[in-house]
Amino acid sequence: MMLKHDLRLALRSFRRNPILTALTVSAIAAGIGAAMISITLYHARAGHPIWWKEHELFAVTLDARGSDHTGEELMRHPEYPPDQVTYRDAQALYRSDIPKHAVMMYRTARVVDPGKSGVKPFGVTARLTTADFFPMFDTPMRYGSGWGRAADTTPDPIVVLSSRLNDKLFNGANSVGRSITLNDRQFRVIGVADRWLPQPKFYDMTTGAFDVAEDLYMPFGWATELKLSPAGSINCVTPSAKVGGFDSLIDTDCVFMQYWVEIPDTAALRRYQQFVDNYTNNQKQYGRFVRPTNNRLYDVPAWLDRNDVVGDDSRIDVVLAVVFLAVCIVNTVGLMLAKFLGAAPVTGLRRALGASRKHIMHQHLVEVVLLAVIGGAVGVLLARLGLWAIKAMTYVPGPDDGPERRALADALAHMDYSMVVLAIGISILTGILAGLYPAWRIGKAAPASFLKAQ
């Protein structure tokens, strides 16, 4: 009842002073708009791609670096081990049965020949991975399933397709049992993954933290069988590493593979860390792992943090936007004060007619909060406009970008409901922060001081 009365008074006050009101609303809208743009961009990058088991999955990194490494002093975190592992270390780690699941993998490039006349062959990205990939990362399957560990070593001529590639080759039909040609060799489709867009693509961020998943998955044994070169990052970490063809790549200190384990209980995790450390200590006798033991297991949030997925620009933008919002709040305080003091004679009259000090304060605070909420609503619209502009500036459509890549670009500038709720919260807080002092000032003044000047 009282609130309704206060709101009516607030509207009357807006009408009395439209220019000042508009100025205040636009200042708040600009502040909240900027804050929401930066927070949305930050929020989109700071995602939890596999939140249901993010503390049970661990990226394994070993410090295989030689004693000296170029440019290390310039790194922000020279203490971090390389983000990938070597082929032979992955092989050794894979022997452990402590993890519930373990995956060694890397990305390569293949060419698909659709075998239809008039349709030209095209390049695809393929993930060479061991069998646990699908149960470990909970890859959603549309048709069929992944493979068992035995298929990795044979290796079986089987593949799991992404739904993207399945759409392209089979028009989205159930292709389990059909076969496809990869560089002149036949592979049987045993599964089709459903649309899957983990953001960030935490399990391999070497080609960008925000990338679509590979077009298809192949059993790991094909790596050595076909000598498939990695199509990602290769980093040779000791001065004695020998760069050469595929055979020398898998036999030297160049890291190019991702290694993940799933370990649900902490005792097993401790045992696993011990196993990894024992392994690298043991390798020291062959002149490897010359640095003090520094093997790190990262759960998913720690892994995203280690790879700085959020990035400097997002953080700077948030700091800047919050400072800007603070300036806008200070500005609003000034404008409100001027407005309230300008209307002081009316307030004095109301006080003289019996309105309590508390009521006057309440009424003015309601007015500012109402302004802030209107400003916040305009700010959300401004933010959507700004995000749209930012997307237009950053997303360059490629020649054959499918809906997934567009979805990814959209997601990075998407304002979801939690953001809108946050915007409302920030608006109300802004209103309270900006209104508290002016409302208190106008409330504490003695009525007579306003009346006598008339």
Partner: protein, 409 residues
């Protein structure tokens, strides 16, 4: 002057001036730090690349049949591309310039693998690399045709075999051979344990625009004459000015069918590639710039608003002062000086904030510390902004007629 009165008047209505001073302080801190950050980005953005970006385009291919022969394909492709009317030169390459990904290796003046080395981008290109990229040599010559290494099975093998000659950029030469005698010396390559003679020094070649402590690495490059391996093909083609579109159209139409068993992955102008590479720099500069402009605008509006409010509430007093002999100039001066006092107190706090912000930003973004002359520039700018914002209300105050004093007393 009436500074003392002014201070006492300010103190009596201190809330407004304090709010303005706080805004000024924030505005100064933001202005100084953001200008510095944007300046760093724009430096990398517009740094000369040394490459004739506007007249180069590239085409990439992938072969998919086992009987595809890279050696003969490469020879015939290069011959065809170089013979097209309008083409200055064409080369095959393993990686593109003006992108962030590529090959990097450690280079050193000494054969000892533990000697200090310097990381650099590596471009593995066919014979006419210098002409194709439009590079200028500071000294020395380009590759001799005999120095070009033949096609290997894959990139790793090609790196392992290396070639007898290399070209390096001046930036790298200065790092690896600080005595300035790089030309003719042997350059040792880590990880592949090979060496090659430096036959020429490239004035400038920016591989990618990099900001921050790694920026030097964007300008360190080595070109080694090796005919790239398959199955992926990448050709850079430099045309005479104005003929790019015509040559590009012809290549797009005819290139894929020249050699069976391959397809064209992409064809793009290097100008577009370079533009895409700078997307992040451009967007972040724009965002930072827009926010700073907003901060300044809101602060200016704040100053303006306070001055208007002051002039309105003091109309009678101003009239009185004018009536007892103050000239218009005195009234104008009063408001300008009063505002300057408020601005300056904000500036003092703002300097502290700006420096603190500089420390935080340099830690957050791993950038060098804020140089002090940015602060000096920022202070001057904020003073000017303050005076400009108050000028209009102050002139309105000066226009108040002395007769006002006689009206409502």
């Amino acid at each position: 002057m009436e500074i003392r009165h002014m201070l006492s008047a300010l103190w009596r209505t201190r809330t407004g001036p304090i709010l303005i001073a706080v805004q000024i302080a924030f505005a100064l801190a933001v202005l100084v730090n953001v200008t510095y950050m944007v300046e760093q980005r724009l430096t990398a953005y517009s740094e000369p690349t040394g490459i004739d970006i506007q007249n180069i385009f590239w085409v990439s291919t992938t072969a998919y049949t086992p009987d595809y022969d890279q050696k003969s394909a490469l020879e015939s492709d290069l011959q065809w591309l170089n013979s097209l009317p309008g083409v200055i030169a064409a080369s095959a390459s393993v990686t593109l310039p003006q992108v962030f990904w590529g090959i990097g290796l450690p280079f050193s003046a000494s054969a000892d693998p533990h000697a200090p080395n310097e990381g650099s981008r590596l471009y593995m290109m066919s014979a006419r690399a210098v002409e194709t990229l439009g590079l200028k040599l500071a000294s020395g010559r380009t590759f001799s045709p005999a120095a070009v290494a033949p096609v290997s099975a894959d990139v790793g093998t090609a790196l392992g075999k290396w070639a007898p000659e290399v070209l390096i950029t001046q930036t790298l030469a200065d790092r690896v051979f600080p005595n300035g005698d790089a030309l003719g010396k042997n350059l040792y390559v880590g990880l592949v344990n090979r060496s090659a003679k430096v036959v020429g020094i490239i004035q400038t070649m920016q591989g990618a625009p990099i900001t921050g402590p790694f920026s030097r690495w964007g300008r360190q490059a080595v070109i080694v004459p090796i005919n790239p391996p398959g199955p992926n093909g990448l050709y850079l083609i430099r045309t005479h000015p104005g003929r790019q579109a015509e040559v590009m159209a012809r290549v797009e139409k005819e290139f894929v069918d020249r050699v069976p068993g391959r397809y064209v992955v992409q064809i793009q102008t290097l100008a577009r590639t370079a533009y895409n590479t700078r997307n992040g720099l451009r967007t972040s500069s724009i965002i930072l710039g827009v926010v700073t402009l907003l901060v300044l605008a809101v602060s200016a509006i704040g100053i303006f608003g306070l001055a208007v409010f002051n002039v309105t509430t003091r109309t009678k007093q101003i009239g009185t002062r004018r009536a007892v002999g103050a000239r218009r100039f005195h009234i104008l001066r009063y408001f300008l000086v009063e505002n300057w006092l408020v601005t300056t107190s904000g500036v003092v706090v703002g300097c502290v904030l700006a420096l603190a912000g500089g420390v935080i930003m340099s830690r957050l973004a791993q950038a060098p510390r804020l140089p002090l002359y940015y602060l000096v520039g920022g202070v001057l700018f904020v003073w000017a902004l303050g005076l400009l914002s108050v000028l209009l209300p102050a002139r309105r105050a000066a226009d108040i007629s002395p007769a006002v004093a006689t009206r409502t007393v």
